[in-house]
C-alpha cells in the first residue's frame, strides 16, 4: 500500500465518522436537554471533515486555503454574535452564503471540466448552480426585507407570476440544452444569471408574515443545492449533509404552510395582503373596550391562570424582558402563567421561543398551539402581545375571510382577553379581527414594552 492510498483511507474514515456525527447531532436536537451535545457533535464532525479534506493528495498549495479560512472565521464570529432579535435576518444571510459557496464551486467545476462534461454530471451541475444562485439572491432579498433595508410590504404587478415562471422555465430549458451540448459553454452564464434574477423577483411579492415559510423553503433549497454539489464531486458526505438540510427545511416549510392553511404555491405566488386598504374606509368604527395598566394589573392579579400569546409585535417592541418581569411578578403571586406560541408567530420558525428563552423564561412554560389550545376555556386571562392574525376567530367561523381555515390560538375562549396593540390598524393580512369587539376583550393601547412595564409597576414587581 502506498502512502497516498493510506492517506485516502484516513480521509474516507474521517468522512464516515463526520457523517455519523452529523446525524447524531440532529437527533440530539430533539430535546433542549441534549441539544447542546448535538452542537458539540456537529462541531466535532466538521473538524474531522475539514481536517480530513486538508490531507487530500490533490492539494498542492495551502496559502489561499489558509487565507480564506481565516477570513471566514473573522466574518463568521460576529455573525454568530448578533442580537437574538436579528436572528431571522442572520439566518437568511447564512442561507445566502451557503448558496454562494455552492454556486461558485459549481461554476468553477463547470469551466474546469468543459467542454467534455458527462451528461449526468452536467445535469446535477446545472441543478446545483440554478438552486444555488436563486437561493443566493432570494436569501439576500429576504435578509434585506427582514433587516428593513428593503420595504417589507409585498410588491406586486400584473403578470408577475407569469414572468417569474417564464424566467425559471428559460433557465431550465438552457440547462437541458447544456446537458445535451455541454460544449456550448457560452450558455453557462445564463443558468447562473437567470436564476439570480428569479430569486430577486420571487421574494419581491412576499411580505413579512410569509417569511417563516419562505426562510424554511430557502433553507431547503440551500440543502438540495449542496446535495447536488455532492453528486458532482461524488462526495457521499456532501450528499448526506445536503439531504439532511434539505429535509429539515422541507419539514419546516410544510409545518409553516400548514400553520397558515396555505400551500407552498400559494405562499410563493399568492402575495397575500397587497390590497389591505380596500375595506378600511368603508368599515364603520365599531366600539371596543379599552383599559388602563392599573385595570389590567388588577384583573391579572386576580387571575389563577394566564396565557400570554406573543407575536411579532413583541419582537419589534423588544418587550420580551418586560414580559419576563410580568411573568415573575405574576408567578410570585401564585398565578399560573404559560405562553401559547403559534408556529408562524414572528419571522421564522421558533422565533418567539428563542426571544422568550433569551429573556430567561423556562422553556417548559412555552407551549405549542396544539398543546395550549385545550387550556383556553379554563384560562382566566389570555394576554395577546403583538399578535394579530394568529388569534383571529374569523379563521374558525367566517368562510369568507381570507384566512379562513388557518389554525389559530383560541384566545377568544378565555374568560377575559387582553390585547396589547399600538392602534386599531389591521394586521399584516389587512384583515379586521373580530376578537377586538368581543365583550370579554379589553384593548390595551400602547407600545408593548411600555405597557407591560406599567402593568409590572402596578403589580409592584420588576425594577420599580
Amino acid at each position: 500500500m502506498t502512502a497516498g492510498a493510506g492517506r485516502d483511507q484516513v480521509i474516507e474514515v474521517a468522512y464516515l465518522a463526520a457523517t455519523a456525527l452529523f446525524i447524531l447531532s440532529l437527533k440530539w436536537m430533539s430535546s433542549p436537554a441534549t441539544a447542546r451535545r448535538g452542537v458539540r457533535c456537529g462541531e466535532l464532525g466538521m473538524v474531522l471533515a475539514v481536517g480530513g479534506t486538508l490531507l487530500h493528495h490533490g492539494i498542492v498549495d495551502y496559502k489561499w486555503i489558509a487565507v480564506a479560512l481565516v477570513l471566514g472565521v473573522i466574518i463568521g464570529v460576529p455573525l454568530g454574535r448578533v442580537q437574538m432579535t436579528a436572528v431571522p435576518q442572520r439566518t437568511a444571510l447564512s442561507h445566502a452564503f451557503g448558496a454562494l459557496c455552492v454556486t461558485l464551486v459549481g461554476t468553477a467545476e463547470f469551466y474546469l471540466r468543459a467542454p467534455a462534461v458527462p451528461r449526468f454530471t452536467m445535469a446535477v451541475l446545472a441543478m446545483e448552480v440554478i438552486l444555488g444562485s436563486l437561493t443566493f439572491s432570494g436569501s439576500l432579498m429576504a435578509a434585506g426585507k427582514l433587516q428593513e433595508v428593503l420595504p417589507q410590504r409585498p410588491i406586486t404587478y400584473r403578470g408577475q407570476n407569469l414572468v417569474n415562471l417564464a424566467l425559471l422555465a428559460v433557465a431550465v430549458g438552457v440547462a437541458a440544452y447544456l446537458v445535451y451540448r455541454p460544449q456550448q459553454t457560452q450558455l453557462f452564464p445564463l443558468i447562473v444569471g437567470i436564476p439570480l434574477a428569479f430569486g430577486v423577483l420571487m421574494i419581491v411579492p412576499i411580505g413579512g408574515a410569509d417569511m417563516p415559510t419562505v426562510i424554511s423553503l430557502l433553507n431547503s433549497y440551500a440543502g438540495l443545492a449542496a446535495a447536488a454539489m455532492g453528486f458532482v464531486l461524488d462526495s457521499k458526505l456532501l450528499i448526506i449533509a445536503g439531504a439532511l438540510d434539505g429535509a429539515s427545511g422541507f419539514i419546516l416549510s410544510v409545518n409553516m404552510s400548514k400553520a397558515m392553511n396555505r400551500s407552498f404555491s400559494n405562499v410563493l405566488f399568492g402575495a397575500f395582503g397587497q390590497e389591505p386598504a380596500a375595506g378600511d374606509a368603508a368599515a364603520p368604527a365599531r366600539p371596543v373596550r379599552s383599559a388602563t395598566p392599573e385595570e389590567a394589573a388588577t384583573i391579572l392579579a386576580a387571575a389563577n391562570r394566564v396565557v400570554v400569546v406573543p407575536g411579532y409585535g413583541m419582537a419589534v417592541a423588544q418587550a420580551q424582558h418586560k414580559v419576563r418581569e410580568l411573568y415573575d411578578a405574576l408567578t410570585k403571586r401564585g398565578v399560573d402563567v404559560k405562553f401559547g406560541i403559534h408556529p408562524v408567530a414572528g419571522r421564522m420558525p421558533g422565533h418567539m421561543n428563542v426571544l422568550l428563552a433569551e429573556a430567561d423564561i423556562p422553556y417548559d412554560k412555552l407551549l405549542d398551539m396544539d398543546e395550549i389550545n385545550g387550556d383556553f376555556p379554563q384560562t382566566d386571562v389570555a394576554l395577546v402581545i403583538g399578535a394579530n392574525d394568529v388569534t383571529n376567530p374569523a379563521a374558525r367561523s367566517d368562510a369568507s375571510s381570507p384566512i379562513y381555515g388557518m389554525p389559530i390560538l383560541d384566545v377568544d375562549r378565555a374568560r377575559t382577553v387582553m390585547v396589547i396593540k399600538r392602534s386599531m390598524a389591521a394586521g399584516f393580512a389587512g384583515i379586521d379581527n373580530p376578537l377586538y369587539y368581543l365583550d370579554r376583550t379589553l384593548m390595551l393601547f400602547g407600545d408593548a414594552r411600555t405597557f407591560v412595564g406599567s402593568i409590572v409597576r402596578e403589580l409592584g414587581g420588576g425594577q420599580g
Partner: protein, 98 residues
C-alpha cells in the same frame, strides 16, 4: 474518478429518509436553533471549495474557490456559535432554586 450514480442516489434517498424521521422529532421549541445548526452543517460544502483551491487548476477556479471557502467558513463558524448561544438560553423551570 468513476461516478457511481446509482450508489449516490441510494445514499441521497436514505439520507433524506433519515433526515425526515430525525427532524420530525425536533420540538417546535427548537426550530430556530435547528435551522441555524443545519446551516452550519450545510457549510460542509467547504470541503469541495478547499479541494478546488488547493488543486490550483486555474486562476479562475482558485479565485472562485477562495471566495467560496470564506462564505462557507463564516457560515460554519457563525452557525455553530449562534446555535450554541441560543441553546444555552433554554432552561427548564426544574427544581426551584430559592
Amino acid at each position: 474518478m468513476k461516478l457511481d450514480l446509482l450508489t449516490s442516489l441510494y445514499v441521497f434517498m436514505l439520507a433524506a429518509f433519515i433526515g425526515f424521521e430525525v427532524i420530525r422529532r425536533v420540538s417546535p421549541l427548537l426550530h430556530t436553533p435547528l435551522m441555524s445548526l443545519t446551516n452550519a452543517l450545510d457549510a460542509i460544502a467547504v470541503i469541495g471549495a478547499i479541494i478546488l483551491v488547493g488543486e490550483q487548476k486555474s486562476t479562475f477556479s482558485t479565485v472562485l474557490g477562495t471566495v467560496a471557502i470564506v462564505a462557507a467558513t463564516s457560515n460554519l463558524v457563525g452557525g455553530f456559535v449562534i446555535t450554541d448561544r441560543m441553546l444555552k438560553m433554554f432552561r427548564s423551570s426544574g427544581p426551584p432554586k430559592r
